[in-house]
């Protein structure tokens, strides 16, 4: 069944925009010395470009086979850190960057695996450059594993709505509340290791009030969360087409 080209292009353009935004975000955050979620943003850039290339073959920037390696590495990275968080919780000392919670690592692990699934299970549609999606649903034995993309879709959409629900946490703070927050930030910074506990990263469960980060710690959090939401929806859409 041919897919509407305009829809694929629309999603593709959004993905390119998200990727470019994430690159710009990383540069600005580095210059202004904000908290950087390098792994998150780099994975978002990779996923955005890969999905754009799948939706609009003309936008594919990597040769065939390389994306599988990239997303295998992404999945391994977040799996390793998820294990690190779990081990840390059960009292085993492991090296961990400590910046992200378990849910953060797990959702990005799922995203990496979902991308990997898209490349490994999908069948190239043989579309010419500039026309429609380059992939269709799996066939043969792979078609029996359609429960997996359904699970991915549920997790991705769940993550998207969870993030959207938490968006209000990072609404701009005004007036005396700003002062209170700034003072709180100073106090927090004075506590060794306290900065590690601030700022729920993408995919993490919303945290109680006291862990709301100050603007200086996390650059444009709502936009970053918005990127994650858009990414999840687009990925969920592509996986749904493969069901």
């Amino acid at each position: 069944m041919p897919h509407p080209t305009w829809l694929a292009y629309s999603f593709g353009v959004v993905m390119v925009a998200v990727s470019l935004y994430c690159i710009a975000w990383l540069v600005v955050a580095r210059r202004r010395r904000h908290q950087r979620h390098v792994d998150v943003n780099i994975s978002h850039v990779a996923m955005g470009l890969a999905m754009a290339g799948t939706l609009v073959p003309g936008l594919n920037v990597l040769p065939e086979g390389l994306w599988e390696v990239v997303f295998g590495a992404v999945a391994l990275w977040f799996a390793w850190h998820a294990v690190g968080v779990v081990m840390h919780r059960v009292g085993v000392r492991v090296q961990d960057n400590g910046r992200h919670g378990l849910s953060h690592n797990l959702i990005h692990l799922v995203m990496g695996l979902a991308m990997l699934y898209m490349y490994l299970a999908a069948v190239p549609a043989g579309a010419a450059i500039g026309t429609g999606m380059a992939m269709t649903g799996p066939t043969g034995a792979a078609a029996n594993f359609v429960g997996l993309p359904l699970l991915f879709v549920a997790i991705l959409f769940g993550s998207a709505v969870w993030q959207l629900d938490g968006l209000s946490r990072y609404a701009p703070v005004r007036g005396e509340v700003v002062g209170a927050m700034t003072a709180g930030a100073g106090a927090t910074a004075a506590t060794p290791g306290a900065s590690l506990s601030t700022g729920a990263s993408l995919g993490e469960a919303p945290r109680p009030l006291e862990s709301v980060p100050t603007p200086r710690q996390w650059l444009a959090p709502r936009l970053e969360m918005g990127c994650h939401i858009v990414m999840c929806i687009t990925m969920g859409y592509m996986l749904t087409l493969m069901l």
Binding site: A154, S168, V173
Partner: protein
């Protein structure tokens, strides 16, 4: 009974730039709302499948729903299917957009009420034109295939999960927070009692009826699901009536469980969740989402969600000092 401050009212009153400190982690009801939002999002992307943008959607998926319905209903469905067939791309894009907005609207706190209200109206339209009244009037409704229409449960959940708290004693389950126990309990009885009724209505009373329903395979469904269907159909065999009666008895017990003591109610609610998931897998084939032509995941997940909303709290939790009653004005 009056109503206390509205749960999302605080967020709205503070405008969009409300400061972070008013934010509260999601409570039970908010989590259920988010699950509902997730299902709406899934609905939306199903609506973006290639076949939905073709004339086939109106012609072969909407138009046949007119069959067997009363003339006024049938005519309206035929007319709508004609419009959808002629303007397939525009109408489908609009349908998908509405559903995406509902899903995102429920998930974003400042718009949760508006989105739930729209979802109720939208569900009514879809039930009429998109589900042909769920087969209720045409006599083809069956509990194991999603009768009386999944979309009705979306609307019901929007009402039960409405972000408002009634004044008075702490309700024993989440679904009663907005409408009160006196309304919530009959709703539960109506839903599960209705399912019991549809399990025994029309052709479902025949010896072969249930087997025929279960054996229907969907093009494109995975092999393991087709095998599961075949086994389930073989298991039922010609004992369709017996199985239907047993199913109706269980559904009836679930319906009445809302008036049972909390332990029994919890057991029956758990049974309801298991049954909903079972129906979703075996009878509804996951809403036929693997066929490429599903518009929603059908009623199974929604019934399970409904059951969770009626999960009975421990009675001691109900008698505990109810500080929540004061705080709910700031929580969703």
């Amino acid at each position: 009974m009056g109503r206390t401050s509205e749960s999302v009212g605080t967020m709205q009153a503070q405008d969009c730039t409300s400061p972070g400190p008013t934010w509260r982690p999601p409570d039970e009801r908010r989590v259920l709302q988010l699950v509902l939002a997730t299902v709406w999002l899934f609905d939306a992307v199903l609506q973006l499948q290639p076949v939905m943008f073709t004339r086939q959607f109106g012609k072969t998926m909407i138009a046949p729903l007119a069959r067997g319905n009363p003339s006024a209903v049938a005519h309206s469905i035929t007319w709508v299917s004609g419009v959808i067939t002629r303007h397939s791309v525009a109408t489908d894009a609009a349908f998908a957009s509405v559903q995406i907005l509902i899903g995102l609207g429920i998930a974003w706190r400042p718009t949760v009420k508006a989105a739930l209200a729209v979802s109720i109206a939208w569900a009514g339209l879809v039930w009429w034109f998109g589900e042909g009244l769920g087969g209720v009037a045409s006599g083809v409704a069956h509990t194991v295939t999603g009768a009386p229409g999944a979309v009705l449960i979306y609307a019901l959940l929007a009402v039960l999960l409405w972000p408002v708290d009634r004044a008075g004693p702490h309700p024993p389950f989440t679904a009663a927070r907005a409408v009160g126990e006196r309304v919530a309990r009959p709703i539960w009885v109506l839903v599960w009692g209705g399912l019991a009724f549809f399990a025994l209505s029309g052709a479902n009373r025949s010896a072969e009826g249930l087997r025929t329903v279960l054996a229907q395979s969907v093009p494109g469904e995975p092999g393991w699901l087709a095998t599961l269907n075949r086994h389930a159909a073989d298991l039922v065999g010609e004992r369709g009536l017996t199985v239907s009666i047993a199913l109706a008895v269980v559904l009836g017990a679930i319906a009445l469980s809302v008036y049972m003591p909390w332990r029994a109610a919890r057991v029956m609610t758990a049974v309801a969740v298991v049954l909903a998931v079972g129906i979703w897998v075996v009878g509804e084939n996951f809403g036929q989402v693997f066929s490429g032509s599903a518009t929603d995941p059908n009623s199974g997940p929604l019934l399970a969600l409904l059951a969770v909303a009626f999960w009975r709290r421990h009675p001691e939790a109900d008698t505990a000092p109810s500080s929540r009653r004061v705080l709910t004005s700031e929580t969703v």
